[in-house]
């Protein structure tokens, strides 16, 4: 089920009512969350429910076995390894098997062999990368004794399958989310109101900004007759805002929706396009995945507290794996390598933690230097999105060639009307986010006067209802 589908309009109030009616019975309430989450997930394809149930069950059993084991004993390590193999094996089979087998077969053919390969050719289960990583985080945290394993299977299943963040994150940590399912929750008026507001802002970002950008970007990038330099630049620029609106919009809806149920999820985006260097960009973009890789991959590899060569290796590993996490395609790997190449000079020069504060924290406008830094970082991010958006390295190469060859620049005719809507709404988005850059989300700060505040809500609602160019799916569902 999609957040922007009409079915969700019925689903959410029903689940909200059922959830709080069961407020006095914690286990029943958690059971209800599991059932609702499975309906939410199974709406897309109920057969893949088996996968999520298996992942949840295995991780829970691992926790139980670990609770009586000696910390970091050989048996414990073996169980952890097995758990990682199982979880990553599922991910690998569904997401990467066909890709790597296909690539290997190509290589063998190039060497003169004639391999007989069998492809799985199965659909990628929605959100498999997200809930697999969530289950892995529990497994590793239990192994490290950072969290006590839970004996309550219902709470654990609710933690893995909690519907707002099930299919596209934020990738929650057991240390944050699981305890919330183990204690009674009380309805909080303020939280619910803020949740609704954040959801509305998320819908605006997804349905109005991202979807209009998507129509225009697809028109420019998929239409061969528009492959001139200017069209490619505009298409990539629109995609840059499409992916931000799409994914951060989803995160806002998920976080806001959770607040309605008295659950706090971690922040996933913090105005990444206002970052002053690429290191800051990665502290602000898809925070839950970045911190996941930092805690469970980068630091165990030695992090940045090692020799120069190891730091280079670790940086490339984390960025390449992060790229590959997004999909089985060389374009994602290239995207990761591109960002690693941008990040390395900062890391090796000790400048990767220069910007830990909010830009222009005590001022309304940035300085010229800050503006220049922000534009430069945005430009690099945009180049990265060109690789990310392309279907193949060859296509990305063609786009880059068009973008630098001024001879291919030509007038753009017959742009869809969504281009103008996208341009206006992107400007609104940037403006609102700039003035709320210290807050947890875009429109967190609103006028105190009820009529003005409600006016903002109505305008957002009106835009969401009337300026959505048809239902588009979320980009990150495919990951």
């Amino acid at each position: 089920m999609l957040f922007n589908s009409p079915e969700f309009l019925l689903f959410l109030p029903l689940v909200f009512a059922g959830y709080w009616l069961l407020g006095a019975h914690l286990r029943l309430q958690n059971l209800f969350v599991v059932a609702a989450s499975y309906v939410f997930y199974g709406w897309w394809d109920w057969r893949f429910l088996a996968l999520i149930i298996f992942t949840s069950a295995w991780s829970w059993i691992f926790g139980l076995l670990e609770s009586n084991a000696e910390p970091r004993s050989a048996a414990s390590k073996a169980r952890l390894a097995l758990s990682c193999v199982i979880n990553l094996g599922i991910l690998g089979a569904f997401k990467y098997y066909d890709f790597f087998v296909g690539q290997a077969a190509e290589l063998l053919r190039a060497c003169g062999f004639e391999p007989h390969v069998a492809f799985l050719q199965v659909a990628l289960p929605v959100g498999v990368s997200f809930y697999t990583f969530q289950a892995l985080s529990y497994t590793i945290d239990v192994y490290r004794r950072q969290i006590a394993p839970t004996r309550d299977p219902i709470a654990f299943f609710a933690f893995i399958s909690f519907f707002p963040q099930l299919v596209a994150g934020p990738i929650e940590r057991a240390t944050n989310l699981l305890p919330q399912f183990l204690r009674p929750r009380a309805f909080d008026y303020g939280e619910a109101v803020l949740g609704c507001r954040q959801m509305l802002w998320g819908f605006f970002k997804k349905c109005v900004v991202a979807d209009n950008c998507a129509v225009a970007a697809n028109f420019l990038l998929n239409n061969a007759s528009f492959h001139n330099g200017l069209g490619t630049w505009l298409g990539v620029l629109l995609f840059t805002f499409q992916i931000y609106g799409d994914f951060s919009g989803y995160s806002d809806i998920a976080i806001g929706c959770s607040r309605l149920f008295g659950i706090r999820l971690m922040r996933n985006f913090a105005c990444p396009y206002f970052a002053r260097d690429i290191a800051e960009f990665w502290r602000r973009w898809h925070i839950s995945l970045t911190t996941w890789f930092r805690d469970y991959l980068y630091i165990p590899l030695g992090g940045s507290r090692c020799g120069a060569w190891k730091r280079v290796r670790n940086t490339f590993v984390i960025f390449l794996v992060s790229g590959l996490w997004h999909g089985a395609n060389w374009t994602f790997v290239a995207w990761g390598a591109f960002h690693a190449a941008l990040f390395l000079p900062l890391l090796l020069g000790g400048r990767n933690r220069r910007h830990l504060d909010v830009v222009a924290e005590d001022r309304a406008l940035p300085s010229l230097r800050e503006l220049g830094e922000m534009l430069r970082t945005f430009f690099f991010a945009l180049l990265g999105w060109t690789l990310f958006r392309a279907q193949s390295i060859g296509e990305a190469g063609r786009w880059f060639r068009d973008m630098v060859d001024v001879r291919t620049f030509g007038a753009l005719h017959h742009l869809p009307r969504e281009t103008a809507i996208a341009a206006i709404t992107v400007a609104v988005l940037l403006l609102v986010e700039w003035f709320n850059r210290r807050e947890a989300y875009g429109c967190a700060r609103l006028p105190r006067m009820t009529s003005l505040r409600w006016g903002v809500y109505f305008v957002l609602l009106w835009l969401v209802v009337f300026y959505t160019p048809g239902s588009q799916t979320f980009i990150y569902f495919q990951f």
Binding site: P6, F187, S471
Partner: protein
């Protein structure tokens, strides 16, 4: 919780009231203007409701008393519904109704007879296929509401009825001797070629013609409808360009003609069949649409036969 729900209801009440009031206003106004668009002017006594082929072929300036309500890209049941609306909007005024039946329409999905369709309904029939194809009633209702109230598709439809002839003077009519397919300009030449090929393929790929074609069911319904309104039905089939006629399986065309003729005989209706009419190549601007000159030639011929 109670406070939250109260606030939520208060919040929802305002846009809901506005939306309901605005919807009611738009629907009433649109309905009125739709009926206005269908109302015949003084002296108009003959109507035709069909597709672009008919719209281009019959020139009301040459055929006195004719009002051509045809619009592009319609199916038989859509034509029938519009006819029903025209008759309802002009009680007692319509004397003759031309019911166009085309072999090209065999390829369209026309699975519902007229009697099942409600008359006001232009909204419904614009979106009828949307409902059927998507099987998502809730989504369709919302998009229907959005299209009608906000995007004013209803309004577009009404405009298309009022726009009159479809000919575009900027387009230069002609025929491509190398392929035998008509074209309107260099830009549209490619489109015209594939258009004729698609149309022929659509007809040729259908199952063999049988007497229970939905097309004929709808045709019979239309004849009854016209007679019930006190008007005289005349069944017609518009001409096809030579290349398109040749591209269509001859057995199908023969079967089609035989079926329609039999039906017309059974119902006692005049059938003016121009399927075999050979119009010069200069009369076409593509495989099955006449250009301005072609319409003049054909309308004169049609008037004489009438």
């Amino acid at each position: 919780m109670r406070r939250f729900l109260k606030r939520l209801i208060q919040f929802a009440a305002i846009p809901t009231v506005i939306a309901v009031a605005w919807t009611a206003f738009v629907v009433v106004m649109e309905y009125r203007s739709y009926v206005g668009a269908l109302t015949l002017a003084e002296g108009e006594t003959m109507v035709v409701c069909s597709d672009s082929q008919t719209k281009d072929a019959l020139d009301p300036a040459i055929i006195p008393g004719l009002r051509n309500f045809s619009t592009a890209a319609t199916t038989c049941d859509q034509d029938a519904m519009r006819l029903k609306d025209v008759l309802a909007a002009n009680p007692g005024k319509v004397r003759r109704v031309l019911i166009d039946v085309s072999p090209l329409k065999i390829g369209y999905d026309i699975s519902r007879p007229v009697s099942e369709l409600n008359a006001a309904r232009v909204h419904t029939f614009i979106h009828f296929y949307h409902f059927k194809e998507n099987r998502r009633p809730l989504g369709s209702v919302l998009s229907l509401w959005r299209d009608v109230v906000f995007k004013r598709k209803f309004n577009e439809f009404r405009k298309s009825i009022l726009r009159g002839r479809r000919w575009q003077s900027s387009l230069v009519g002609g025929f491509d001797p190398s392929t035998g397919v008509g074209f309107v300009s260099r830009k549209l030449r490619k489109m015209a070629r594939s258009d004729a090929a698609d149309k022929a393929a659509r007809v040729n790929n259908r199952p063999p013609a049988t007497s229970d074609l939905p097309l004929l069911v709808i045709l019979e319904e239309q004849v009854k409808l016209v007679r019930a309104a006190g008007a005289e039905p005349i069944i017609t089939t518009m001409p096809l360009s030579g290349p398109l006629r040749e591209a269509i399986d001859q057995a199908r065309l023969t079967a089609f003609t035989r079926e329609v003729e039999a039906l017309a005989r059974r119902l006692g209706v005049v059938y003016l069949n121009y399927l075999e009419l050979d119009l010069p190549i200069e009369c076409w601007h593509d495989g099955n649409h006449l250009n301005r000159d072609g319409a003049e030639v054909f309308s004169k011929r049609f008037l004489r036969d009438l």
